[in-house]
Symmetry: C2
Amino acid sequence: MTAPAGTALIRDDLLERDRSDPLAPFRDRFRLPEGVIYLDGNSLGPPSMNIGTRIGALLADEWGSDLVASWNRHGWFRLPERVGTRLAPLLGAGGDEVIATDSVSVNLFKLLAALLRRPGPGRVVLAEDTNFPTDLYMAEGLVSLLRESGARLRLVPPADFEGALGPDVSVATLTQVDFRTGRKHDLRRLTALAREAGIPIVWDLSHSAGAFPLRLNDDRVEFAVGCGYKYLNGGPGAPGFLYVAREFQQSLDTPLSGWMGHRAPFDFETRYRPAAGMRRFLTGTPGILSMVALEEGLRTFDGVDMEALRAKSEELGNVFLRLADERLTGFGVEAVSPRGARERGSQVSLRHPDAYPVMQALIARGVVGDFREPDLLRFGFAPLYVRYADVWDAVETLRDVLACEEHRAPRFQHRDAVT
Amino acid sequence: MTAPAGTALIRDDLLERDRSDPLAPFRDRFRLPEGVIYLDGNSLGPPSMNIGTRIGALLADEWGSDLVASWNRHGWFRLPERVGTRLAPLLGAGGDEVIATDSVSVNLFKLLAALLRRPGPGRVVLAEDTNFPTDLYMAEGLVSLLRESGARLRLVPPADFEGALGPDVSVATLTQVDFRTGRKHDLRRLTALAREAGIPIVWDLSHSAGAFPLRLNDDRVEFAVGCGYKYLNGGPGAPGFLYVAREFQQSLDTPLSGWMGHRAPFDFETRYRPAAGMRRFLTGTPGILSMVALEEGLRTFDGVDMEALRAKSEELGNVFLRLADERLTGFGVEAVSPRGARERGSQVSLRHPDAYPVMQALIARGVVGDFREPDLLRFGFAPLYVRYADVWDAVETLRDVLACEEHRAPRFQHRDAVT
């Protein structure tokens, strides 16, 4: 029984949507604890059902049996490319344009440094002041290292970004989906705008990859980095990834030129010669446990129709916003994410003056989102395992918490180091 | 029945040594395949017996049950320090002077960059041209990034290193144990010599940590990095570590200033403020699977008398060299490692013109060492699991291979990407 348009939603409407959801079966691929509605896959995706078996085999049948020979015998040496090739279709990229390695932070440094050092008039790295801070910190570290040669970082409010694409800018960086608001940039339009100004953009796709389909090739995106542990379900601290469009790969030189990026690492030459293709963006020896876990996380996308994923992501957010309007009136809650689904990533944030204790109370009730300074309740909707009914139940739980002022209990006031 | 001095050793002598070896029981801590004599722990240490259980618990009871809350609940956030504190006693360092993160390559870049950027007349990074290449490549990448400000890399043969500690040198880097020959530097003497010249040395302890006891504090070592996957048994591509003597921690600023090194990462400030202490050397989110595996690897050292470890390491090498003398005469084998045990790490290398196929034939017989360009057979002696009788059996197998010219078989000529 679906409510007619204009009528308030009821839970049965959402159960009905779950029944007709083509992605519903994929939920079985995940190990999710009983009694938890997990709306924080935008911070850390859950493990796949198969993760224990796969990692167990890595430990026993690869490392434990073949020891160092596993580098060849079990393809460890090629894992960064293998994982990149598996990830590429989710990004709309060629299999030879993506590689998994290091962290988002380190990968961003590589690309910003490689681009900033190219000859040209610009010495400025441009970024939005609302960007996820690690991107800003890495850019700050880079320009401070290159201060003597005039490098500097310019941070502007998002509204001023386009106007700041001037001749003194050498390289810009943007995160596609804002970690606080979920606001989504138009990759294609901004990349084209910057290209006209002769400025490369390094996109951070941490909140994009796996949340909705990307078309990096079609959108003529040149450079990107991203995160493996959010929507890609790669495990805590999973390796990050880099994307470099084919035409730029051979002309870019990262200063983080470790031996795994060498053309012939086992020749042990004294001088660095970068590998052809994406391997030149590797540095040290990759962490194989984390790399295999990321590969396993990516398998949760096998056979997924990415357009269906995007449609569900948009609908989950739409339903959440609609229910917030219909059922949270008078509780001091305000939606801060865009109303238009095309302008959002796969998360919705609400503002509330007591956001921290409210989120603690929600978590205690089994609805796991997260808090972001200073007053945001953040909810991520990973379409592979979040159900429409979960959205209903999450909003109802939030309503209960606020109605009963549960969040005023002293036990919800203490702040952990990480939330 | 131990042979009297001057008499050739026999296998029974070595069985006797195993019976009286105080470290013999520790072998049971490792999962080692049947029929293999593993002399490549200097490349990749074996897994501990407990690794499957520990990682299984991480996947099921931490990530799989508590999801993102594990960052606090299971101490993931503090793992880099926790692992560092566990490692510190093996280094002779304070628990607050060591942290595990990133790779050796990336960590070396952090320290070299932080030291090179300090005010002073020197703009040169000094290194031995025989150093492990990734260290040279990272230094090359750093100085090429800073070329405009006069930075450059000077590579000298080991014999010229001390003489090259001149006023134009800003920072030097040395690997304590040479990866080819096993030759060991005197940390204390060289650190003091460089200090008199006003030059900090960043030591690479990749072939030292876990191979023999270190006394970084007593030896007044200021800066070091090292590897988790060799003698520390941390698993393939385990995180590396950094050591910075307490007095220098607050004055060093790495340009790889990621959010995990921020004083308050979850305040999401726009500007970077480094954390107090070693956390400032963190960059992105640490790979928790690899970090927990390293912690488990370090547990194999629980209760180990490091002086007994050093004594056994020296004796294993001595026995190997003596047996090579006594039993490999006439086969074209030449020892390239120092004869004096105090001048060696825990490995011995032999030169042979057919080193590559000889090592392949040895591996086919279950004696696993490795080959290093152009003509080296490399054997590592990890005292926690290598037995004296293993040394005998390895030399006998090598003798058999050479006597039968087994290595001339076509199947041993093909070179893998990694060996």
